[in-house]
Symmetry: C2
Subunit: 301 residues, 2 copies
């Protein structure tokens, strides 16, 4: 088994996680969560998004969140930005990093952002221009890298094409998202290899959802293919909008437990993350979806 | 990735699963479950145990279960037998296969069976003699192959020693159980390699618990080391007695989904298993613990 010596996690719970929770969360609770996650050792925490509160009310207070968190030196706090208007919000909030998102499936892109993939890139142009002007880092997301909830299987070549466009446009990293969590290890490896033919492997991240419980198996498989950055969500926050009642993002605790067992360096304190997860789950009135979080909670009780 | 072409699953839900559920289940519900699992294509279903109902009331009706199931030709229905007395029950119930169990940790063996590991082998002697006399197959279980809930880490050499004793004694297969589910892929591979130095790999099965969500990653890792038999539990039945509220056995549906994605043959219909799981979960008044079962249920709703 040939794994990376060191892995970097991008904690997406406060954005991708909370965005998919039914209950909106206060500024105070979000700030406490983000600060607890950076105190636990995370070097990247997705802090929110500047999208219309009409579409995503859970993220309406991102400007206040960005104003109140303790910004820790060396830590990235990317915020999701869909267009020029969102970018204005990110600039006003003094964000140092943004994330832009498109999809590898036309049907998903249209349902999710109301435009074609090509049009999503047209929207990115002024956003990237402003990012360059303000010295902001830009991370790119590709959704539906394995399958689309509307159109079925997605061709790895299409994922590679979209990823390359994001990379050439200036994204320092491209995160490949199995949005519906249907992928299994062989498919993920095929997809990663296709993308890595066009974007350097060290510029790729993998973003798995645990809808079918395959995330850790997929992470193992793509680590063997040189992928060393993973998006994870504390407590496994974030349900699956395509299968209500199913699991969402892979739990940070589950990934940390796996990495600890493999002796892979990551710099994050699993117990501190689990405590942060218990606090936000209490706020949401839900149980953690991460199995490690459940086991640690059971042991703590 | 070098995986086996074919994998055999041993469905342990009706025994290892139900034994760890708080609510006892009627004979009718157990029979319906077992028959649904064999109809789904399973070639081995652990049907119950002949242990004292004082210790395990959930298994008190195993004789009636064995009398009422439709025994499908070619399918194994192992029942757990702790001693000569249990063996009498198995013989009376016309069982064709039994399972015996010991541990790789002295402390666990003593807590679980009230005897030392050596004494457990002394108890097996008359059981195996009777098995031979009645032409019954014998499967062996080793518990705590990674860690003991009382004594911590377990040495792979100890697991190998106990496994070899079971194999030499006449067990056609030895199932290696990570009872507390704490193992991660690297540890599991080390343990498997130690055992495989003394027992042929094709005579070994792996039995994982999903307490820390590592089961599928572990299965992937040990499949690469030539292991091709796995114990799984429909719906992920069976909690964790060492961390109340945590997950139990790895879900059959989760393993089937992984194997389907890898193109590995197994002969079991995942949707039929999921339906059987929903039925027994309704009986128990609980949600399935298997993430695939949850996702399929959400999609079916």
């Amino acid at each position: 088994m040939n794994y990376p010596k060191k892995v970097r996690l991008v904690e997406v719970g406060p954005r991708d996680g909370l965005q998919n929770e039914a209950k909106p969360v206060s500024v105070e609770a979000k700030v406490a969560l983000i600060d607890a996650l950076t105190a636990a050792g995370h070097s990247a925490v997705e802090a929110g998004s500047f999208v219309s509160p009409k579409w995503v009310p859970q993220m309406a207070n991102t400007d206040r969140v960005m104003a109140e968190i303790k910004r820790k030196p060396g830590v990235g706090y990317p915020v999701l930005v869909p267009n020029k208007q969102g970018m204005n919000g990110a600039v006003e909030a003094h964000c140092e990093e943004i994330a832009i998102f498109t999809a590898a499936s036309e049907a998903f892109c249209r349902k999710n952002t109301n435009c074609s993939i090509d049009e999503s890139f047209e929207r990115f142009a002024p956003v990237l221009e402003a990012a360059q002007k303000h010295g902001m880092k830009v991370r790119g997301y590709v959704s539906t890298v394995i399958a689309c909830p509307y159109d079925g299987k997605v061709a790895p070549a299409k994922v590679a094409e979209v990823s390359e466009r994001l990379f050439r446009m200036g994204c320092y990293e491209v995160s490949l998202g199995d949005t519906t969590g249907v992928g299994t290890p062989a498919e993920c490896v095929t997809m990663i290899d296709a993308v890595a033919a066009r974007v350097p492997r060290e510029k790729l991240a993998a973003h798995f959802h645990d809808t079918y419980g395959q995330s850790l198996a997929n992470i193992m498989a793509v680590m063997e293919r040189g992928i060393a950055v993973f998006d994870t969500s504390v407590a496994g926050l974030g349900g699956c909008p395509y299968a209500k009642g199913a699991s969402g993002n892979v739990g940070t605790e589950d990934v940390l437990y796996l990495l600890n067992g493999l002796g892979i360096d990551h710099g994050v304190d699993i117990d501190a993350v689990a405590r942060a997860g218990r606090a936000i789950c209490a706020e949401l009135g839900r149980e953690p979806a991460s199995k490690v979080a459940q086991a640690l909670k059971a042991k703590a009780a």
